[in-house]
């Protein structure tokens, strides 16, 4: 009766970009991390509005025109556009910001799995505040028994998705563990508890598996650490993340227990998604204030140490060589790291070019080749960071009315 339900829409970003790994192969030698660009002295921080600039002459406008051509053509059967926002920040200024009809700078867009990267930020802040310890056993009540092998799982392994827990996306039959966790009446009321109530199938720290449930366990830890209810997390985020960075549209969603659904449920405007990406591009420091701990961004963009992983860091995806059986996902420029979510949500940081690329919307047409190639196509148009001077300050970005 229900076999025609296109639930793959729900699963695309989580299952397809995270197909379970079937075989282990030696990883290529790890390349050094790209250096993160510093804020240009002539460009204000985007706390109270993003600076805007015209495209610099050194940018290849033909390539940009090719990206923009047909950008909003892919549509659902009801006529809704797939791509709804495309925003590019170059050297600290918005140089491109285009929206489909009916959407604009104030529109909020759904994260799907980009929420995992938000969870990384909240966790990082709590580590900086010494309220969580990266290498201590993760504070999960159902794992406290020292005879329980899950008691050895650390916060670091949760962030790396190397817990060894039997809750990977797509596992468990049916529509996959993550779908049942988020939407089934048996599991959804306390998602973090449901996610934690599974057995180990690998020794912690040895095997990578993409898992929305794991990020949801992290969301539960963060929630409990700051009060265990909606207001506690919202106030914490406002004080520690939103206020300092000027993020003012981000809204978290919670399960019935009041725990943040850290694997999938966050909304924000395109400009605020860009702000979050920009915080990471600037090494976790915002206008002189350290938001994320020293070294956190490098930890985040270093591949998780498992023999079956090459392109996943700590709740962020990385450019690089995927391990055998690992879905390569989007084709990022070298040194890039990114947040990705189902249906083509992308926030891509390209340190070598001082770029943040944001694409938001849906994927009714599901042209994955298009989505996977989009960041590299845009980045190719921009020169390496440091070559040109900043674009004309106050000039008109693409998509803005002169």
């Amino acid at each position: 009766m229900l076999d025609a339900l296109p639930f793959h829409k729900l699963l695309i970003g989580t299952v397809l970009i995270s197909v379970a790994l079937l075989s282990a192969t030696p990883l290529p030698a790890q390349t050094p991390l790209a250096s993160l660009p510093e804020q240009r002295p002539d460009t204000p921080w985007p706390t109270h509005g993003w600076p805007v600039a015209a495209l610099h002459d050194a940018v290849d406008r033909t390539l940009i025109a090719n990206v923009l051509r047909g950008l909003f053509d892919a549509r659902s059967p009801a006529g809704l556009p797939d791509t709804r926002a495309l925003l590019v920040v170059y050297q600290g200024s918005i140089v491109m910001e285009v929206y489909a009809d009916g959407f604009g700078p104030d529109s909020r867009f759904f994260s799907w799995s980009m929420a995992k990267s938000v969870t990384n930020a909240l966790t990082g802040i709590l580590v900086r505040n010494n309220r969580l310890q990266l290498d201590a056993p993760a504070p999960v009540s159902s794992w406290r028994d020292p005879l329980d092998p899950r008691s050895a799982i650390t916060l670091r392994q949760l962030l790396h998705m190397t817990t060894g827990l039997d809750n990977a996306d797509g596992s468990g039959g049916g529509l996959g563990f993550e779908s049942h966790m988020m939407f089934s009446p048996d599991l959804r009321d306390d998602m973090a508890a449901s996610a934690a109530a599974v057995e180990l199938i690998h020794e912690p720290g040895t095997h990578w598996a993409y898992s929305t449930a794991t990020s949801t366990i992290l969301g539960g830890i963060v929630s409990r650490t700051v009060g265990g209810n909606r207001a506690g997390l919202i106030n914490f985020a406002r004080e520690e993340l939103f206020g300092p960075t000027g993020i003012d549209t981000m809204e978290f969603e919670f399960d019935k227990s009041g725990s943040f659904v850290g694997g999938a449920f966050v909304w924000a405007s395109a400009r605020d998604w860009a702000r979050l990406g920009y915080l990471y591009l600037r090494n976790g420091v915002w206008d002189g204030r350290r938001i994320l701990p020293e070294g956190w961004v490098d930890f985040t963009r270093t591949p998780a140490p498992a023999s079956n992983n090459g392109i996943y860091g700590a709740q962020f995806w990385l450019a690089g060589v995927a391990a055998a059986g690992q879905n390569p996902g989007i084709r990022s420029p070298q040194g890039a790291f990114n947040m990705t979510g189902a249906n083509g949500q992308l926030v891509v940081m390209v340190p070598a070019k001082d770029l943040v690329i944001v694409r938001l919307g849906e994927a009714h047409v599901e042209d994955w080749d298009y989505f996977n190639a989009l960041p590299a196509r845009i980045a190719a148009a921009f020169p390496a960071h440091g070559l040109p001077e900043a674009g004309e300050s106050g000039g008109t970005p693409i998509g803005h009315t002169p």
């Binding site: 049942h180 978290f252 919670f254 399960d255 449920f265």
Partner: protein, 98 residues
């Protein structure tokens, strides 16, 4: 008992068994489906601030009916008669299935 009557009873038993087995297998999927639609349409309307009909179109699933619970700031999704879910908006805290 005539042969025709035996065949009729046999068909009824087989049909009933098929319905029961189908329900056991499909019910969990139906629950996920209505939960997904109720939650996402609720969030789209109340957090995304988009019109209900547009949100319904974005998360449309076959055989799932969706209704806006305007006074309750919620959305209900139903696959009659086997599954139903409702999600409600909490100010500044998105939608939650309840």
């Amino acid at each position: 008992m005539t042969l025709l009557r035996k065949i009729s009873i046999g068909l009824a038993v087989v049909s009933s068994a098929a319905v029961v087995i189908g329900m056991v297998i499909l019910k969990p999927m139906a629950d996920v489906g209505v939960g997904y639609v109720a939650k996402q349409v609720c969030s789209c309307v109340h957090v995304g601030k988009r019109p209900f009909e547009q949100c319904r179109q974005d998360y449309l699933q076959e055989r799932i009916e969706v209704a806006e619970l305007t006074d309750l700031h919620g959305v209900q999704a139903t696959i009659f008669p086997i599954a139903e879910a409702s999600a409600y908006y909490y100010p500044n805290a998105g939608c939650t299935l309840e």
